[in-house]
């Protein structure tokens, strides 16, 4: 993953944390290319590592790694872990045509 893409993913993760109201930092992991370290103020530390071609693996403490096929799954997992009380929604597509 290029530095540009890595920075973009870091901004998306940091923004999502703000949306959920979680005080945390997201930094690049110097030990793994394209990986991040997420640290919350409450002391949780997560390592988020890209898994080719488009997936992500989340490692936290001694738990088994949590694998996601893409960003939507990663975001859902992080929210459930870090901000289970944050208000969420479910996409509803109505039947009414726009035209």
């Amino acid at each position: 993953m290029s530095r540009h893409k890595t920075a973009r993913v870091a901004r998306v993760l940091a923004g999502a944390l703000r949306v959920w109201g979680v005080s945390a930092s997201v930094e690049r992991d110097p030990a793994h290319a394209g990986a991040f370290v997420l640290r919350t103020q409450s002391g949780i530390r997560m390592q988020i590592v890209p898994a080719a071609p488009r997936g992500w693996v989340v490692m936290c403490d001694a738990r088994p790694p949590d694998t996601h096929q893409g960003l939507p799954g990663l975001l859902r997992s992080l929210r459930q872990e870090l901000a289970p009380e944050a208000a969420g929604g479910r996409l509803i597509i109505g039947s009414q045509s726009l035209r």
């Binding site: 993913v9 923004g15 703000r18 488009r54 939507p72 929604g89 109505g94 009414q96 035209r99």
Partner: protein, 320 residues
């Protein structure tokens, strides 16, 4: 049978909704309009002020549309449609006038999703009236009025004969830069401008605007998006931004549909199915998405970053 247009007229108490509607209904071009009036209180009066055929003015009393009488709205709209179908009523458009206290979002969602009426109607425009004389104070004191402005397709600055509309117009432009503004004097405004194809207009030039707790993000992208990216983008927004997402409108260049852009429109987490246009409505062929939010405290570029990351993942998926 083609879907009948339905518009929602919202605006805070005393902002001139009924006066506006009363004037519009006298316009011969809008004569075939059925009006559903919702009043908050035991005794409704506004419907008596609307000069139209009694058969096509229906009053919903005793509660606010957004929280108490949504079922009544759906049932009333359904009954109007049934009367029209059997030739007992003649109208080509429905206008719903909300109470001044109403949050328009649940009303729009009911119109978009209810099984009984959604297929027969198409949401045409959300019109918000704002009083030039008292609008500033109302926006300061009542968050509901800010949300009404944020959700609107059209803003009508009323009572411009009583106060200079310029400062208020600027404030409204910061809350909802994508909504064209019309000035009404003594309730008079060009009805043709109210109900034209509001969903196809251009996005504002600003990438980010903020006022009264409402933030508008305007995304532009010159490269076409994969259809799957668009679906994932909307899913992520609905899932994580929830009620902070007030409204989303966009014209999207989709890889799988060259030359036929997708028109998208959502209120909070509820979306219309995308409409596929036969051609671009103007010379600008870039994807334009406007997101109006409240309480979404993110950097200006967050939504653009999200869109780009999702599209990269979809590209990687399709090439692997």
């Amino acid at each position: 049978m083609s879907a009948l247009p339905v518009s929602v007229v919202t605006g805070f108490l005393g902002s001139g909704k009924t006066t506006l509607l009363s004037r519009l209904l006298r316009d011969p071009a809008l004569a075939r309009t059925a009006v559903i009036v919702n009043e908050f209180g035991e005794v409704g009066l506004d419907h008596l002020l609307l000069e139209a055929s009694d058969e096509e003015v229906v009053l919903l009393e005793g509660g606010c549309l957004c929280c108490k009488v949504r079922g009544d709205l759906v049932r009333t709209a359904g009954e109007l449609l049934a009367r029209r179908a059997r030739g007992a009523a003649a109208f080509d458009r429905i206008v719903v006038e909300t109470t001044g206290l109403a949050d328009p979002a649940p009303i729009l969602q009911a119109l978009m999703t209810d099984r009984e009426i959604a297929d027969a109607l198409r949401l045409e425009a959300v019109i918000a009236t704002v009083d030039c004389a008292a609008g500033d104070a109302t926006l300061d004191a009542h968050p509901a009025s800010v949300k009404q402005v944020a959700l609107a397709d059209r803003l009508i600055l009323t009572k411009a004969d009583l106060a200079d509309p310029r400062a208020l117009a600027e404030r409204l432009r910061r809350i909802n830069p994508s909504a064209p503004q019309l000035v009404a004097r003594h309730g008079a405004v060009d009805g043709g401008l109210l109900f034209d194809s509001v969903h196809q207009r251009s996005a504002p030039d600003e990438s980010h605007a903020h006022s009264d707790g409402v933030t508008t993000f305007c995304l532009r992208r010159s490269e076409p998006l994969h259809g799957a990216t668009l679906a994932l983008f909307l899913q992520v927004l609905a899932e994580h931004c929830g009620a902070k997402l007030l409204r989303l409108k966009g014209l999207v260049d989709v890889v799988e549909s060259p030359g036929r852009p997708a028109l998208i429109h959502g209120v909070q987490h509820v979306f219309h199915p995308p409409a596929w246009l036969d051609a671009w409505p103007d010379g600008d062929r870039t994807t334009r998405i406007v997101v109006i939010s409240r309480g979404l405290e993110v950097e200006a570029g967050w939504l653009q970053d999200l869109l780009e990351v999702l599209d990269e993942e979809v590209k990687a998926c399709s090439s692997s």
